[in-house]
Amino acid sequence: MSITHDAVRDWMERFAAEVAENRSYLTKLDGAIGDGDHGTNMDRGMKKALERLQAADGDDIGASLKAVGMALVSSVGGAAGPLYGTFFMQMGQAAAGRSELDLAGFTEAFDAGVQGVVKRGKAEPGDKTMLDALKPALDALRQAGDSDVAAALGRAAQAAHEGMEATVPMVARKGRASYLGERSAGHQDPGATSSHLLLKSAAEAVGATN
């Protein structure tokens, strides 16, 4: 089984729905160690992204992901805008022209997206950022070997979930939460939380049973 353009679209719709549903939860998490706008910003951005997706035709996964990325860059703002924007633009770049992706292809594109986030944000694992959910997910995909797509993304979502939870005790070194120093420990990172939603949506889009 491979990931079709329809599945990618479904992924984005599910992600948008998750973000909308968790909007105030994300904002609340951001309120505790940031400025309380992560949910609002991501929700505004994913709504714009869906509009763009719906307006576009064709089955180029790369083009669709790039469209999502550009919509996010120009509508989210804050840290998450350029980071998620870069993620999707880089992932789209790596998947340019493809109408389906097998697990290896998806993993490669996902890797490009994560590398984009690292390059833009210069964070490392352990800094208490979205990377702490994205990186474990990437590792899980890499370790999936030749398991099927649903199982692999299921495990990636699981890894993102663990990574998200692991941000709780961390002292933030990047982003707004770093201003709090030690006071940032004890709170879950909002960006890692939205990144988990991203992986959860992906897994659900390919029919993984979590």
Binding site: T27, G31, G36, D37, G81, P82, A172, R173, Y179
Partner: protein, 333 residues
């Protein structure tokens, strides 16, 4: 949440319409993507200065657009950095052929969005220099973190660089002056109350009636330390001690002292704070030769204040004194 607004979703749009209705003699407001630009932009041959950031800090930055200060300002949603497309359009609108300086407050979001905008503008053949302000001593300075926040010094840098650009200085010189201002200035802030973003509808933290938060930023985020409320004199000591030790400011130094209100604190209290600051600096032989007192870089309706000191030399003093004709800062013009 009690605010004079129509709906949380229309705050930015309604505010920009208000600015457009009020100040069309000075500025032009563009709505899609949103930015505020000098009515006479682009000024041919002059270095242009663009800044921007989340809304909720008014009059920063839109109020500083005008002759002798900013050429354009890009407002984001409340407390959210604006996006690269806004910055790109603003940069194109003000470029008079001598290049454009981006003054960016050091927040991950602002830095990354301005970075993307600068890449895009350079791709379109516009010379762009970027200077990041990071003057908040409440945050530990470190290579391994996001570093210090840009706060009060940003206002002073915008005024001073605006004057330098107006004098006809070249892009690199204006950028150097901006870095110099950032080097010579430090700030720290405190809150008596939190603030509420329209979208969130509730505060990010709560304070007991006898508590204050020390080391806050300008985004309603909690600070570094919570403690019992103290007198104005003690608060000034708490904020100014770390500032003077950081640069450091020494006996005999001449400074611009900037007492800033966070939005909900009345002027009468800011003058009381200034009085204590003036006594504190007097005691250390540091001379205040210029001052700015009022709500200039705010955090919605938060009650509290920040203190910024900028060490002055002849050039900075002259550029500070130069005419400015923006919405919120105006003299000599």
């Amino acid at each position: 949440m009690k605010k004079l607004i129509n709906s949380p979703d229309t705050v930015l749009q309604d505010e920009l319409e208000g600015i457009a209705a009020a100040h069309s003699d000075r500025v032009r407001v563009v709505f899609d993507p949103p930015y505020i630009v000098r009515a006479d932009a682009p000024v041919q041959g002059k270095v242009a200065i663009v800044s921007g950031g989340g809304s909720g800090h008014e009059p920063m930055h839109g109020g500083y657009v005008g002759r002798g200060m900013l050429d354009a300002a890009c407002p984001g949603e409340v407390f959210t950095s604006p996006t690269p497309d806004q910055m790109l359009e603003a940069t194109k609108a003000v470029d008079g052929g001598a290049g454009v300086l981006h003054i960016v407050k050091n927040y991950t979001g602002d830095v990354m969005n301005f970075e993307m905008a600068a890449e895009l503008a350079q791709g379109e053949g516009i010379e762009v220099a970027s200077v990041i302000t990071n003057d908040d001593v409440a945050v530990q300075d470190s290579l391994y973190t996001a570093g210090r926040r840009g706060v009060g010094v940003t206002v002073l840098a915008e005024k001073i660089c605006g004057a330098a650009a107006e004098e006809g200085k070249a892009l690199e010189d204006v950028a150097d002056i901006c870095r110099h201002v950032n080097d010579q200035g430090r700030s720290m802030g405190m809150a008596l109350t939190p603030c509420i973003t329209p979208a969130a509808g509730e505060p990010n933290f709560t304070l007991a009636p006898d508590e204050m938060e020390i080391g806050i930023g300008i985004h309603g985020e909690p600070g570094r330390e919570r403690m019992k409320l103290e007198s104005a004199a003690q608060i000034v000591e708490r904020l100014t001690g770390p500032i003077v030790e950081d640069v450091p400011f020494n006996e005999g130094d001449e400074v611009l002292a900037f007492v800033n209100g966070m939005g909900g604190t009345p002027l009468i209290e800011l003058y009381i704070v200034f009085n204590e600051l003036s006594k504190f600096l007097d005691g250390r032989g540091i001379r205040i030769s210029r001052n700015l007192i009022g709500n200039y870089i705010t955090s919605l309706e938060m009650a509290g204040c920040s203190i910024t000191l900028l060490r002055l030399d002849d050039e900075l003093r002259r550029l500070w004194d130069a005419p400015v004709d923006s919405i919120a800062l105006r003299w000599g013009a």
